[in-house]
Amino acid sequence: MPELIFDLSRKGRCAHAQLPPNTLQNATDIPAELLRVQPAALPEVSELQAVRHFTRLSQLNFSIDTHFYPLGSCTMKYNPRGVHKAAQLPGFLQRHPLAPESHSQGYMACAYELQEILKSVTGMRAVSLTPMAGAQGEFTGVAMIRAYHHARHDRARTEMLVPDAAHGTNPATAAQCGYTVREIPTDADGNVNIDALRAAVGPQTAGIMLTNPSTLGVFEQKIKEIAAILHDVGGLLYYDGANLNAILGKVRPGDMGFDVMHINLHKTFATPHGGGGPGSGPVAAGERLAAFLPTPMVGKSATGYEWLTAKACPQTIGRLSTFMGNAGILLRAHFYARLLGAAGMQRVAEFATLNANYMLKRLTAAGFNAAFPKRRASHEFIITLKKEAKEYHISALDVAKRLLDAGMHAPTMYFPLLVPECLLIEPTETETREVLDAFVATMILILKEMQTQPDKIKQAPQYLPVSRLDEVAAAREPEVVAGQEVIEHA
């Protein structure tokens, strides 16, 4: 591993070209007790040292630009450079979030059009772009459901239903909104168990949080029945948009009976993941919930675009970010949608599904076990290595690490929690058949190695900057900042 940037530091070195024309030595008009005494121990390096250090660090990463990245549930598709370039234009980067509307019509036009596009894609009545990530979108949706029940003076609804296969964010969100979480089991084919659902609903039910296609990679066929069960008892339906890529332009959550949903723009709309963020999770709502959407939103009048704030939306659940969400990501999503058009968006779902079903077929033909062999794949599918774990003592983790050695990012592992030793594989529509074939060939090779050279798998990765890392030591005695002894005290 490269040195830490702090190890490159030498006292008195700095990047001179970056210094402002400072004319003050000290802020004498600020009382001394409010001033910092000792400077923070930040690195003192030249501009070149910084550029070289961080460029080298970047080279230690796998990324979409460098590697196949079939990480299930994350939709790691190509992030178009043209879209990025458009969003980085100076006029967009320089706009202050509180600039007057008269100085903001360019940005607001893009945001307004994105709202309209997302309304069409989701089949919903209104959209708010402000939630800053999928999990915040979920929070928004559940807070809106809560506000809806409260507005009807219905305070008896204390339970949120969540299928046992759901993303961990679903129960975490429901709890954060003050709901008790009730898990609904999944049946053998990967559908929500309808009998269990019927038994669980009642006047205490606030709603249900569902992903469709589910995290198991299959389409929930009885979705209209589920919607009716919930609506009959006065509950509402939340759609987790994590898997929207599978159905873009094919079927719409609004038509399925959902009342509110979020869209992960960093998945379906190809905005970059940035090593864990920024994301963006706009929320779309149907008739029942549109009035509760968070502000600000963009409206359009005869004179131009205008901000809709609490004044125009009296029932709003309020504000979720300092300004108006991750605007730069919203611009990228808008530009991506403009490149695709209606037909292009439909093709996203078609080819994502084609790629997933092709890989599923080839891997099962090679001897791997599908978690739901009777079902079609959506845009992703699950392989379970339960048999291999038993026969060869090779785990899903081992296979994941061996794939890294082969120059491929591992699929999502051990999620969903229901399926033992699972790999959740999502190839996305932007990969060529050759790449899919190469992945399958590697998996076949690994299957052979399980029998002939299991150590090669167990010791993987061997060709990366580090081998397997001691996560237990890291968690027992966390070292999360360098050289804590140098932190100054008052």
Binding site: Y414, A475, R476
Partner: protein
């Protein structure tokens, strides 16, 4: 096969209970520590806290999992195993000995809901399917 000492009593949620006169000692079973993997952090109840049967009374964390400990006996906490705060691995190494979690002064004398070693073994075997 994990070890299940004959002299202890067990809960369905994988806690063990040892009776010593008017105090009971509580920990998690060998099977439970095996399922959790290497423990990295333990959150113990406060001394003098009271718990009902089945109430969450401690949290165990491994790298990949977090598990609640459910109080197998109702009572008032009289002592906690502070050694675990710095050495959670004791639970992995010696679950029935140095890896004990806390001691209670029980509210009740009878423990009809607890299992003996044989019954607990059967339960573990049934969960494997």
């Amino acid at each position: 096969m994990s070890s299940v000492p004959k002299k202890l009593q067990y809960s369905k949620t994988h806690e063990w209970v040892r009776e010593d006169e008017d105090i009971v000692t509580i920990g998690i079973t060998d099977h439970a520590q095996c399922m959790l993997g290497d423990l990295v952090y333990v959150e113990l109840p406060e001394v003098e806290a009271g718990f009902e049967i089945g109430e969450e009374c401690a949290v165990l964390e491994s790298v990949k999992a977090a598990a609640d400990v459910f109080c197998p006996v109702s009572g008032e906490v009289v002592e906690i195993n502070t050694l675990l705060l710095d050495h959670p691995q004791l639970i992995n190494e010696d679950p029935y000995g140095r890896g004990w979690l806390f001691r209670l002064r029980p509210f009740e004398k009878e423990r009809p809901e607890l299992l003996d070693a044989e019954e607990y073994n059967k339960q573990v075997a049934s969960e494997a399917h």
